[in-house]
Symmetry: C3
Subunit: 211 residues, 3 copies
C-alpha cells in the first residue's frame, strides 16, 4: 500500500517534471526529439548527477519507467496541448510533490552511502533541483533556480527537518513524511505569497568590475 | 586488417568531430587554446559522459591519440583554413562515419557492462551526440541537436538495427556493419533531402505560460 | 608548518574563487541562494569534475570547509560589498595562488591514481579551470577561459614544470613549489602585460559555413 503510493507519486512527479521540460522547449525551434530529451533531463537529471557523485549506477538504467513516462508526457503535450497546459495547477501540485519525494529519495540514498548529514541534505537538494538547472542550460537561459522562487531552499529545509526527526528517533515513515511535507508546504507558500530571496545588487562605481 | 580499418575510421571520425568544434569556435572571439578545447570536447565529450555513466575509466586516459588528432585538427585549421573548409563534403562524410562508429563503440561497451538493450541504445546515442551538445553549450547556443537534422535519431535507429541483428544471431562483424550503415545512411538521406522532425509549436492564448 | 601553510592557501584560494563566482552573479537578477551556488561551483567545480573522472569520492564530501568558506564569502560580499571589491588586487593574488595550489593538488591526486604524466597535467588544468567554466555556463556566457587571459595554459605550463622537476629527481616539496610558482608567475605576467593567445579568425567567403 505504502509502496504503491510511493510508486504513484514517483510517476506523477516524473510526469510533471517531464512536462515542465517539454513545455519550456515549445516555441524555441526545438523539434519533437529535442523536446523529449528536454523532458527527460528535467525528470532524471538531478538523480543522475546525484548517482554520479555517489558513485552508484544511475537509477534509470534499471527501470524503464522514467523513459516511458517522459514519452507519455510528450505524447500528451502533442495531442492535447491546450488542455495539458490548462491543468497548470494540477501539474504544479505534481511538480511540488515530486520535488518533495525526490528530495527524500536523494537523502535516503546518501544515508545508505554512509555520508554526513549535511552532504545528504546537499544530495537531496541536487536530486530535486539539478534537472531544472540542466534544462535551463540546454535552453540557453540563466537557470530559474538562481533567479526566483524558493525551490532549492525548500529542499534544504526538508533535509533539515528530516535529520531533526531522525535525531528525535521518529519512525522512518514519519520522518520521511514530515520532511516531504516541509518541502511541499514551503514551496506552496512561497509561490502563493510570492516570497523570494533578495537579489544580489549590481556593484556601483567600479567600472573595472568585470574581472 | 579489420582492426586497422577501425583504427583509421576512429582517427578520421575524431578528426571530423574536432574540426566541427574548432570551426564553430571561429569568429566567436575564442582564442587558439579555447578552440583546441572546443575541438576536444566535441570529439571526446560523448564517450566521456558514457564512461562516467558506465563507471569505467574515461577512454582517452589510456590513449593519447585523441588529444594528438585534435592538435592536428587545430594546426590544419590554422594553417590551411580556407582549404580545410573547402573539404566540407569529405569532412561531413568523416563526421557521419564517426557517428556510426562511435555509436557502435558505445553500444558494445554497454553490452560488456551487462546493461539492458534499451540502455545500450541510449549509451550509443550519448556517445555519438553528447560531444556536439557540450560544444554548443560552451558556445552559448541552444544545441543544434535539438533544432535540426536527424542526428541522434540516426543513432537510435542504428541501435535498434544492432539488436535486431543480434536477435537474429548474425555474426558480430555483420551486426556492427549493418548498425553503422544504418546510422550513416539515415543521416546522409536526412541531410540530402532536408528531412526534419516537426518542431514544437509555441503555446497560444496562455499568457501565464512562462512558469 | 608546511601543512598549515597549505591549509591557509587552500582557504584563501577557495575564498577568492568563491568571491569571483558571487561577484559575477551580482547584477544578473540572481538571488542570494543563487549567488551562493555560483560561488560554490566556482570554488569546487573543477575538483569535483576531476574526482568524477578519477572515479574517487568528491573531495568536498569529506570536508565541510569549502561550503563554510563560500558562506563566509557570500556574507562578506553582502555586508561589505564596496570594500570587498576594493580588495581587487588582493583577491586576484589569492585567486592566482589558488590556481597554482589547485593545479598541484590535481596533479598529485592523478599521480596517486597511477595515470600517465600527460593525463595528470590535464587533470591539474581541469582542477584549476573548470570551476570558472561551469560558472560562466550557468551565467549564460561563453566561458572567459576561451576568450582571454592565459589561465588554463598557466596550469599546463605548471604541469610541465612539475614533471620536468620530477624527471630531474628533485624533492617533492621543491617540485610542487616550482610548479605552483610557474602557474602563478605566468598568470601574473600575462595579466600585467595583457598577453593573450591569438583569436580564431572568422571564416570568409563561405556562406554555407553554419553546419
Amino acid at each position: 500500500m505504502y509502496t504503491n503510493l510511493t510508486f504513484f507519486l514517483d510517476l506523477a512527479g516524473t510526469f510533471a517534471f517531464a512536462i515542465s521540460g517539454i513545455r519550456m522547449a515549445s516555441g524555441k525551434q526545438i523539434d519533437w526529439f529535442g523536446a523529449y530529451v528536454m523532458g527527460l533531463v528535467t525528470a532524471i537529471g538531478g538523480g543522475t548527477v546525484r548517482d554520479l557523485l555517489l558513485d552508484v549506477s544511475p537509477f534509470w538504467m534499471h527501470d524503464e519507467k522514467y523513459f516511458l513516462v517522459t514519452a507519455v508526457a510528450l505524447l500528451a503535450t502533442l495531442l492535447f496541448k491546450e488542455q495539458v497546459f490548462k491543468w497548470g495547477n494540477t501539474l504544479f501540485l505534481f511538480d511540488t510533490i515530486g520535488l518533495g519525494l525526490f528530495t527524500i529519495v536523494g537523502i535516503t540514498k546518501s544515508i545508505d552511502a554512509g555520508l554526513s548529514f549535511w552532504v545528504c541534505i546537499v544530495m537531496g537538494t541536487i536530486t530535486g533541483s539539478v534537472g531544472g538547472v540542466i534544462r535551463d542550460i540546454l535552453l540557453n537561459e540563466v537557470p530559474l533556480l538562481f533567479r526566483k522562487d524558493i525551490y532549492a531552499l525548500a529542499c534544504v529545509a526538508g533535509g533539515i527537518v528530516y535529520f531533526a526527526c531522525r535525531f528525535l528517533h521518529m519512525a522512518t515513515g514519519v520522518t520521511e513524511l514530515m520532511a516531504a511535507l516541509t518541502v511541499i508546504v514551503i514551496r506552496l507558500i512561497a509561490v502563493k505569497f510570492h516570497i523570494h530571496l533578495p537579489q544580489m545588487r549590481p556593484e556601483r562605481k567600479l567600472p573595472e568590475q568585470d574581472n
